[in-house]
Symmetry: C2
Subunit: 357 residues, 2 copies
């Protein structure tokens, strides 16, 4: 039975990428060596990481001054590294709180500077993206979380701000074109739209750096990785290799505009059913709904929560259970998800309503 | 042509491990899902990371109180994390300097405490392991680098110390049994004897923790990862999976005593030829020679350096060029290397001497 993987992350990647990745594990480009055993200083690997960087630049249409880094430690490490590298103790960083990930970023930033939380949707269980706040010009940056995997919200318009945006884009990077010049720094754990777990992408405008007086540990200073092209120490070779393969796939499928169109079609199909189906509803403010993670709940959870999970499992629909902090259901539909998987989910929802409604 | 991979790291792993890893990329345990797309909270993965930890414990015969963590960032991140987690500013850490990696660890530790370098072989181009120093009882720990990939030295006996040893064991962990009770903390980038690049093993006695007054960023505090079983955030799923497969292989081949015996046989075969062959010599103090990384040089580099690299390449011998800071040759012979690859190198050396000697 084909498994339709709706997991929130690590998440679905294209089948072609899996096949190429497996081939690389056995024999990389007919070299007689596995991608798992090559030196990171070898031509075989420097070619891979360079192509990965080139594809990031091309797909995002990145202005040349930006740096592209492949690090480790996930977005969780960027929560403190951004603040550590950008804030002196008296500096102000502005935040918008849209859920668990924002909250963690705020907590870590407080260790390094003055944090101002401009807006929060916490009182509404994070079911919308706050709007209508003013970003103070004295702030070094405005930090936002572009897509909220747990609560199913996503910025559909970027905030109006006089200062650069620092953005945790872990769960929707490479799913749509971006107005890059508005961002000072973007970070993303790879394991949703970019690649497998184990590599973290950081894109930054180096003009944002250079004011922090503290001397940072070498590995925590962005300048170390800029100067050494992400090769100060051994990088995560295989996660970078698979990310490069996946970026090739995105390019071959038409780039970020095409990814955006795919995402729009998938989300429209599913949300239409959520809104139509008498047994389910979507708790998120319509205009802030995430195209990546559709959160929906059963109107009568006692009767339908477990039963719907069962019919999904029977249909080969995997990873549909909502986050433990929200409950209900969550269909994560990243770049690699084909529309027919979403159609299957919709069919199962309709069938479920017919039999149980 | 079969390629014999003598790279210093990322490095050779068993062919069986490559085959199993490639199968997991296509279809993990017949689940219909790739190991690259499974949730780290899924049973499929928690089973893997638990087996990896169990194998670490079993192979090392680890006393129960020790914690086993799978982190990222490499040994380069442990250089500062050890000091950051173990030292208050007035605390003393003792170091032995055996080369580039020790030097980096010393540099990072100075940011967090008082560093005393008890001994160094720098004046002798790091061609031996210092001995005969006293470790002060007031030190929190003694930091050493067990094996020095660049200079080809290795501790064959552990230092006599009244304080716990903190050890960078990146390049020889799982190559021999260890007297664990003498170590307070062991760290190792995976990419030599453990697995592919992208995961970092930390083994620590939690009694060593808990005195540091500073509040650390969440991701940099060992206690975070202890409390959450290395799952505070998304771990590097695939590097952990392959490490687990490789640990299974080590166990199936007889464990660490068997690995030690394999290493001894390989090293004896190669060093005997280095000592016998009129065109080469080994610069390292005999009793401190590494069983993992055999460093040797041409007596007449102008005539023989490039020529020998060429005959090696012709024979399918890969990664034999010495580190740029030392020159000459380096044959890295990690756990997965079979004796016949070393025999081939010896044959090539003998043939080279016959034709050019």
């Amino acid at each position: 039975m084909k498994i339709h993987n709706f997991s929130a992350g690590p998440a679905i990647l294209p089948q072609e990428v899996f096949r190429e990745a497996a081939e690389g594990v056995l024999n990389l480009n007919d070299s007689g060596l596995s991608v798992l055993e090559i030196s990171h200083r070898s031509k075989a690997f420097t070619t891979i990481i360079q192509e990965a960087e080139d594809l990031v630049r091309e797909l995002l249409d990145l202005p040349e001054r930006y740096e592209v880094l492949f690090l480790t430690g996930g977005a969780s490490s960027q929560f403190f590294m951004t603040a550590m590298n950008l804030l002196d103790p008296e500096d102000v960083a502005a935040f918008v709180d849209t859920g668990s990930w924002s909250t963690k970023a705020i907590k870590e930033a407080r260790r390094f500077g003055q944090v101002e939380v401009l807006a929060s949707s916490k009182a509404d269980q994070y079911t919308h993206i706050p709007k209508g706040y003013d970003v103070p010009e004295r702030a070094r940056y405005l930090h936002i979380t572009s897509n909220n995997t747990i609560f199913g919200t996503q910025y559909q318009e970027w905030p109006d701000t006089p200062v650069p945006i620092v953005c945790d884009m872990s769960s929707d990077i490479f799913s749509r074109p971006l107005p890059l010049q508005r961002f000072g720094l973007i970070y993303a754990g790879a394991q949703k739209n970019l690649g497998p777990a184990g590599v973290t992408l950081v894109i930054l405008d180096p003009d944002l750096l250079g004011t922090v007086r503290d001397r940072l540990p070498t590995m925590l200073d962005y300048r170390t990785h800029i100067e050494r092209d992400s090769m100060f120490n051994t990088p995560p070779v295989f996660p970078i290799y698979v990310s490069m393969l996946n970026l090739r796939w995105i390019k071959a499928r038409g780039g970020l505009s095409a990814m955006q169109e795919r995402a729009r079609k998938r989300a429209e199909l599913l949300y239409a059913e959520v809104d139509r189906n008498p047994l389910f509803y979507g708790p998120v403010n319509t205009e802030d709904r995430s195209l990546m993670n559709a959160v929906f709940v059963a109107g009568d959870p006692d009767q339908h929560q477990e039963a719907f999970l069962e019919v999904c499992a029977d249909a080969g629909i995997n990873g549909i259970k909502g986050h433990r902090s929200v409950g209900g259901f969550r269909a994560s539909m990243y770049n690699a998800m084909e529309l027919d998987s979403v159609q299957l989910l919709v069919d199962v929802m309709q069938d479920f309503a017919k039999k149980r409604g």
